[in-house]
């Protein structure tokens, strides 16, 4: 499966989903006009990748400075799918970066850790 790459814009993150290397990165801002449209493609490609991935280690790094409520919902769906892949025998490692001042992003990360226990969760506080 090929890499999937989108450059960052002022309101959408850099998406660097290197499926062959099983390394996924989301970095930047996330408040697209339609989060369902922006993340729909990402979810579909990730789901297709996970359908054919067995007993592998997948790293996902999230380095988002801000995401709006509709992006939050889509991120939750993305981690729901990754959790399923982990339950099916893959190892999924999530590096969750948040600004040290940003309790909202940290709290959302902790929600993910609680709901998706099959994912290995690491929080990283970043000094701004």
């Amino acid at each position: 499966m090929e890499k999937f790459y989108l450059a960052a814009t002022s309101n959408t993150p850099e998406v660097d989903f290197d499926f062959p290397a099983r390394r996924l990165l989301l970095k930047g801002e996330s408040y697209p006009e339609s989060a369902a449209a922006f993340y729909g493609d990402i979810l579909n490609k990730t789901s297709a990748f996970l359908d054919e991935t067995r007993e592998q280690t997948i790293h996902i790094s999230v380095q988002l400075n801000y995401f709006n409520s509709s992006s939050t919902k889509m991120l939750f769906s993305l981690f729901d799918r990754l959790n399923l892949a982990a339950e099916e025998g893959n190892t999924v490692v999530l590096d969750w970066h948040h600004d040290i001042d940003d309790e909202t992003i940290l709290e959302f990360g902790l929600e993910l850790a609680e709901d998706f226990p099959a994912i290995e969760f690491h929080a990283h506080a970043i000094e701004s």
Binding site: Y31, E33, S69, T72, M74, F76, D101, T104, E111, D115
Partner: protein, 186 residues
């Protein structure tokens, strides 16, 4: 870093702008306009002595309100069924007095839509912060409302960041519409 004296001289001198007004915009909103004025809001907030945590909450509230205008204002320049590159009218204001920020938005809505909004908004005024967080968690896990272009999480996100209960109102407006206003405090 600015010295205090330099900071003082950075206060706005443009007519109509005062130090308590962080941002005001009234007119048509599109996603591109939000991107641009979002930058202006962030820069203005950086000039105030506001904690990073509060600045982030203000920015988040501003974006949720501005995107609600783009998606839900009844005053639309683009066809009502057009789902992307929408442009709709409203206003957003951020003010700063006595270490408190108020973020207020206004846009017209159809009276039937106003009736749909009231039962979403009224409970948020009565809930404790713990109840708001609990409702947020439940909504995050619920299936996306088919009528919602966003996640339905927007009002809960605003209420969660507001240090005082949100305030809202509906007033008769032109063309039989209702003017919806929403206020958050940070």
């Amino acid at each position: 870093m600015n010295t205090p004296a330099e900071h003082e001289s950075n206060k706005p001198c443009f007519p109509g702008l005062d130090p308590n007004l962080i941002f005001f915009y009234a007119g048509y909103f599109s996603q591109n306009i939000i991107n641009a004025i979002g930058d202006a809001v962030r820069l203005r907030l950086e000039q105030t002595e506001t904690s990073g945590s509060a600045r982030r909450k203000i920015f988040s509230t501003f974006i949720e309100m501005a995107q609600n205008i783009v998606h839900y204002s009844s005053d639309s320049l683009t066809p009502p069924d057009q789902a992307t590159l929408e442009m709709r009218a409203g206003s957003v204001m951020v003010s700063h007095t006595d270490n408190t920020f108020h973020i207020i938005c206004a846009n017209p809505v159809d009276p039937s839509f106003a009736e749909q909004l009231k039962p979403l908004l009224e409970p948020l005024r009565l809930m404790s912060m713990e109840q708001i967080k609990d409702a947020y968690r439940k909504t995050l896990r619920a299936e996306t409302d088919e009528n919602s272009k966003g996640a339905g999480l927007g009002f809960l996100t605003i209420a969660k960041d507001s240090s005082a209960p949100i305030e809202y109102g509906f007033e008769p407006a032109a063309n039989g519409m209702q003017m919806f206003t929403l206020k958050a405090t940070i």
